[in-house]
């Protein structure tokens, strides 16, 4: 997730990372990580093992994905994936709930 300020709210954090801020903490799938001091980007990223990298030339920060358990997946619950098709129409992976899905990542290099 790219941000121009570290002062973002929980809604933006959820949209950018898939981690939802709830009373019990930062949650994804069935996993919740307590946030004793509530939500702010820097401390939440630290709790979730997300790297925050700054580029001074453009004044932006990039927040990397969580590295909570040392694996790419913290849960087997599929994360939401929102992408556009080639005509610019938004598609949500969750709209396929109820069907088996084979997600194939390819490239037209």
């Amino acid at each position: 997730m790219l941000v121009t300020s570290l002062n973002i709210d929980a809604t933006e954090f959820h949209a950018g990372t898939g981690w939802e801020i709830k009373p019990e903490g930062a949650c994804k799938g069935e996993v919740c990580v307590p946030l004793p001091d509530g939500f702010d980007l820097a401390s939440t990223a630290e709790r979730l093992g997300m790297a925050v990298v700054h580029d001074e030339t453009v004044g932006m920060w990039a927040v990397g994905p969580e590295s909570l358990n040392g694996r790419a997946l913290v849960s087997a619950t599929a994360p939401e994936l929102v992408l556009d098709d080639a005509d610019g129409n938004e598609f949500r992976l969750s709209s396929l709930h109820g069907k088996k899905v084979v997600l194939v990542a390819w490239a037209p290099y």
Partner: protein
């Protein structure tokens, strides 16, 4: 290359009836642990992943005409070379033959479609998590550098983009998509674009000193046995 027009000929050649989506910022890397293409993830009706990202191929070859001719020629060259290696160096030949089996991958998918959770290929949640990519925090930093690099490239801040690409490659050396993205952007430019420009993922002869990255595709892929490039995760 993430522009719609780069993907469109492939989508049309496949006559795809499923959604075909663009992922210019490599969300599937961060969310699913994709590190190479093709990589495949299986998700059941409840939205539960039953196989984490792994090398896999759909049945059939669907290539646009402009690429078919090139690939046919390359296949003939590869087969000739493989026969030579087989005859002269059986140990190396075995290594080159290793890795995920292309031809039977679709059979495993069919088995899961038929048998669901009882398919021997469907993994438990714990197995899925354990089988997903390794991700200590420095790999999260690699992903962050990659996102900055892509953004900076799109704003023509080339030198800054190169720095972040190099950091992404250093921190996630196993991620071929991070490397090939950078290599194809620069290689395409050097080759003058066109249909085949983006397949040029290394320095052109005589331009080696201008190449901004530590590696390039012909060198690194050439030194990587098939079993490392497409590790075997599935026994059909």
């Amino acid at each position: 290359m993430s522009e719609p027009d780069a993907s469109r000929p492939f989508i049309e050649a496949a006559n795809a009836t499923h959604p075909s989506l663009l992922d210019p910022t490599h969300k599937v890397d961060a969310l699913f642990g994709v590190i190479n293409i093709p990589n495949v993830v299986w998700i059941d009706e409840t939205g539960t992943i039953v196989r984490p990202a792994e090398p896999g191929w759909p049945p059939g070859d669907f290539y646009p005409d402009f690429l078919r001719e090139y690939l046919d020629a390359r296949d003939i060259e590869r087969e000739t070379k493989a026969a030579e290696v087989e005859a002269t160096n059986p140990e190396l030949a075995a290594k080159l033959r290793g890795g995920q089996d292309r031809d039977s991958y679709a059979d495993a998918i069919r088995d899961w479609v038929a048998h669901g959770v009882d398919s021997r290929f469907a993994l438990t949640p714990d197995e899925v998590i354990a089988g997903s990519q390794d991700r200590p925090q420095d790999k999260s930093a690699g992903a962050a550098h990659f996102e900055l690099a892509n953004h900076l490239w799109s704003t023509d801040a080339r030198d800054a983009a190169f720095e972040h690409f190099r950091e992404a490659h250093r921190l996630q050396p196993e991620n071929w998509t991070y490397k090939r993205q950078a290599w194809s952007l620069v290689g395409n430019e050097a080759a003058g674009g066109g249909e085949m420009g983006r397949f040029n993922q290394g320095p052109l002869p005589g331009q080696e000193s201008e190449w901004p990255f530590a590696g390039d595709f012909p060198t690194e892929a050439g030194a990587t046995p098939a079993g490392d490039y497409y590790p075997k995760t599935l026994q059909v």
